[in-house]
């Protein structure tokens, strides 16, 4: 029987490990730590975790290689890449490679803590899903996946190519399933430029936590959904259609589509 622990942190910096342990202990969570990739891989091979936090630049292997290892072993644990080299390229690369989130250093206590909770909830959803597949019955729909013709960056943001050449962008239903209800949203303005992988929306949930969401494409915002002004909750009720957030003129769509996943591939 595998030992079950809450969090595994793989980082070659002691202070990062200490910070994670500190935040975890505040929430009464147990933490295992590894100072290099090999040690980390050994740990998650032999134990079960609810979340694996992994640095990118380590002496023996990169965090991306560790992520590949997880996929090879078919381990279903939420994996979050964190790095001091917090460029948007790294963010996009992490999400594209199946990291649940990208956590740029330096992070605050709250950012870390909210990341834990999103990961745990996502882990539960994953577990339920695999159970329902095993037992071949549809227990209950935990979240609505994005429509088949949509594309998504990581798990949380989607785009839909529109016939006029613009794209609509929004947030997936899954995101609202792993966070508390939305209290406030800060939008960008029309004419603002966005870059794939940079923050394009900030959501504050009712637990006082701030969540930054990353833009799925680069381009120029031409409009912000006016209906969201009337009711913010529309974004949660109908995230894929009426709840769209921005219309964007994409800058490098053909190139950036390579970094996105097609939602049709999510169907089981």
């Amino acid at each position: 029987m595998k030992k079950s622990t809450d969090i595994l942190i793989i980082d070659d910096e002691q202070v990062i490990i200490d910070s994670v342990i500190k935040a975890a202990r505040f929430d009464n969570l147990a933490v295992d730590s590894a100072m290099n990739a090999a040690e980390g891989i050994k740990l998650f091979k032999n134990n079960e975790y609810k979340l694996i936090l992994c640095d990118v630049m380590m002496p023996d292997k990169s965090g991306f290689e560790v992520l590949d290892e997880i996929h090879k072993l078919d381990i279903n644990t939420p994996f979050v890449i964190t790095t001091g080299y917090s460029t948007i390229e790294n963010a996009v690369k992490a999400l594209q490679n199946g990291s649940m989130e990208f956590l740029p250093k330096p992070f605050t206590f709250d950012e870390l803590s909210s990341c834990f909770h999103r990961a745990f909830r996502y882990g539960e959803i994953l577990k339920k899903m695999s159970l329902s597949v095993e037992r071949s019955y549809n227990s209950s729909i935990d979240f609505i996946p994005c429509p088949a013709n949509y594309y998504r960056l990581g798990l949380y943001s989607w785009i839909n190519l529109e016939s006029e050449g613009t794209v609509a962008a929004g947030i997936t239903d899954l995101y609202f399933r792993v966070t508390n209800p939305v209290r406030e949203i800060t939008f960008l303005n029309p004419d603002d430029s966005i870059t794939q992988g940079s923050v394009f929306l900030t959501i504050i949930t009712d637990d006082e936590l701030t969540h930054n969401l990353l833009a799925p494409v680069s381009g120029k915002i031409i409009s912000v959904n006016p209906k969201l002004n009337e009711s913010v909750s529309l974004i949660e009720k109908d995230p894929y259609f009426e709840g769209w957030i921005y219309k964007v003129i994409p800058a490098e769509l053909n190139y950036e589509l390579n970094n996105l996943s097609q939602c049709s591939s999510d169907r089981i």
Binding site: V15, F26, G84, Y85, S86, T108, F109
Partner: protein, 625 residues
């Protein structure tokens, strides 16, 4: 000394002058001498005839005393050396030197030789043949002998003395010898004169040529040599003052032009290097800084959470959290600065971006009463560019100009136009393969930040690697082992050693052997395989012709930038504004233009103003792919 142009020129001119004067002098002395001799000859003949005629009567009546008297009288003339009459047998019958009388002359004697050189004596002697020039003895001066045959005539054989018979043709010969001493002296004098003239003209020519060569060749050449030395030690902003409109003036002008271009190139190159290393530095710093910052931020925000009931502590902790977050933003902007490498490009119109920039800076223009003159060409095409980054470029340049121009009288002009530039010296080779499809690209050795083309080279028993400049036509090749100039090398693939030489072609410049490597999908690159040769041909790209660039010029009438600072202005953290500037503005500009595959250059005159020139490719893919 003998290697100097002036010396060589003087020696050459002196020789030429010497040759010309020599030939002229020789000919003229010769002619003069001929003329003198002719005159003396005519004179001598006349004299001889006169003597003969004056003695005719005395001869006929055989008045020997009278004849002797006449001869003695003639003898007093100083130029006449001797007068002799000899009969047909060669016996001297009369002479100015009485001791000679009665002597017999041999037929080989000077006086007889003319007629008696042949077996049969000549009966009639032409006037011109009667004279000859000879020396009485080897060290005496030259003399002219004139012989005048005395012919038989009726009165001679009918005379009472019956000394001669009717069947004789020549009765005797009158021989006069005239000294040529005075003529020889004349000729010698003119020879000396001409020689003197030659020496004087050569010296004069030498001095004049020397002076002018020194003034028009030596000095400018010396300046050029000095200038090249300055350039050689890296002082690329050295300029030669224009002096003249001749070839050397033109050379100086093109030299200045060359150093200017070199300087621009070097600036671009330095910046490429610097930005690359600065990027790495920034990334490294960011990474290293972010880890400790994580510690500070998590611990302080954790404390903030735990001390909700302690407002005083909360206040302090808030400061820590706030400031750490600020540090986080600074590091983030440092990373953003480093990752200028990937601008997000969309179809943009440079004119529109400029118009938009004008709105943003309109307040600053108004405050300083600066006049902005726009000359935007309406027919420039849209380009694929990051409008925000380009806007940043214009903002930074405008703000600098506004700071530099005089208040109330400031003028800034910006113009856009479409220009065509040739790919030679601009296009980059991104992939090259050998005939067996091995890639020749080398990421280890980069030339101006770009992966080079690696080939194995063999020459004269040596073997090593040569890395070709990946920019077509620039030829800044990297040699891993030393080769000497003009050496031919055999090039081959570093992986499979297959030859890369092309036997069917020859260098267009030197006719030497050439290499030919395939550029996948883009034809072949040919080049001269002789070390030091700069010939390259990429027909595929050449055929595509020139590429279009948008040329943007920003001019101001500001204070200008001193020449010694001009090459530093694109350096990060270099500022002329002291505390007011960060020194990052122009390096950001440079980075952005570089990322758009463009070029930026600056010209400035202190007190007059500054001009920035930007060239952006209309089709960056064409420039890059």
């Amino acid at each position: 000394m003998f290697n100097k142009i002036s010396t060589k020129l003087i020696v050459m001119v002196a020789f030429t002058a010497l040759a010309i004067i020599g030939v002229t002098a020789y000919l003229s002395i010769d002619m003069q001498q001929q003329a003198y001799i002719n005159e003396v000859e005519r004179h001598g003949n006349q004299l001889s005839e006169v003597i003969k005629k004056s003695m005719r009567e005395d001869m006929l009546v055989n008045r020997q005393e009278n004849i002797r008297n006449i001869i003695n009288t003639i003898k007093e003339e100083p130029s006449i050396i001797q007068v002799r009459i000899f009969n047909k047998e060669g016996e001297i019958t009369y002479s100015t030197h009485p001791e000679d009388i009665g002597q017999n002359l041999d037929k080989k004697a000077e006086s007889c030789y003319v007629c008696h050189s042949l077996d049969q004596p000549i009966q009639r002697l032409e006037t011109k043949d009667r004279t000859r020039i000879y020396k009485l003895n080897p060290d005496s001066s030259r003399v002219m002998g004139i012989i005048n045959p005395i012919y038989n005539e009726r009165s001679c054989w009918e005379a009472e003395c019956h000394a001669h018979f009717e069947n004789q043709t020549v009765l005797g010969v009158l021989d006069i010898t005239i000294s040529l001493d005075s003529i020889d002296k004349q000729i010698q004098k003119s020879e000396i004169m001409i020689l003197l003239l030659a020496v004087i003209s050569i010296v004069t020519l030498g001095v004049i040529i020397g002076f002018f060569v020194r003034k028009f060749v030596d000095k400018p050449v010396k300046e050029l040599v000095e200038a090249t030395n300055y350039v050689a030690v890296g002082k690329l902003n050295f300029e030669i003052k224009p002096r003249s409109n001749d070839e050397l003036g033109k050379l100086a002008e093109s030299f200045n032009n060359m150093t200017k271009k070199l300087n621009e190139m070097r600036t671009q190159l330095f910046q490429s290097d610097k930005m690359a290393s600065l990027g790495q530095l920034a990334a490294g710093v960011a990474h290293e800084l972010n880890n400790p910052l994580t510690g500070v931020l998590t611990y302080s925000s954790f404390l903030l959470k735990r001390t909700k009931d302690n407002p005083e502590m909360q206040e302090d902790l808030n400061v820590i959290v706030r400031e750490t977050k600020r540090s986080r933003e600074i590091v983030k902007s440092l990373l953003d600065f480093a990752r200028q490498s990937a601008p997000k490009k969309i179809k943009s119109n440079v004119n529109q971006i400029i118009e938009r920039t004008e709105k943003i800076i309109s307040n600053q223009l108004k405050i300083k009463y600066v006049q902005l003159i726009k000359k935007l060409s309406a027919d420039i095409p849209d380009i694929t560019a990051d409008p925000n980054q380009l806007q940043q470029v214009f903002i930074n340049l405008f703000v600098n100009s506004i700071d530099a121009v005089p208040e109330g009288n400031g003028k800034i002009s910006i113009s856009t136009s479409l220009v065509s530039l040739s790919p030679y010296g601009i296009r980059r080779i991104k992939e090259a393969v050998c005939p067996n499809k091995h890639s020749l690209m080398d990421n280890e050795i980069k030339i101006e930040g770009l992966p080079s083309i690696k080939m194995k080279a063999r020459s004269g028993g040596k073997e090593g690697f040569i890395n070709l400049d990946p920019v077509y036509g620039l030829n800044r090749h990297h040699y891993q082992i030393p080769f000497t100039k003009d050496q031919h090398v055999e090039l081959s693939c570093p992986v499979c050693d297959v030859s890369l030489m092309d036997q069917n072609s020859a260098c267009e410049l030197c006719g030497g052997i050439v290499y030919k490597i395939a550029i996948p999908g883009k034809g072949y690159l040919e080049g001269c395989a002789t070390i030091g040769s700069n010939w390259q041909r990429w027909e595929y790209i050449d055929k595509k012709g020139k590429s279009d660039y948008i040329n943007i010029e920003i001019n101001d009438n500001g204070s200008g930038i001193p020449a010694d600072k001009l090459d530093k202005i694109f350096d990060p953290f270099f500022s002329t504004k002291g505390q007011r500037g960060t020194g990052l503005g122009l390096s950001v500009v440079w980075g952005i233009i570089d990322n758009h595959k463009g070029r930026i250059s600056v010209e400035s005159n202190v007190g007059k103003g500054t001009k920035f020139k930007i060239q952006l490719p209309v089709n960056p893919a064409m420039v890059d792919e």
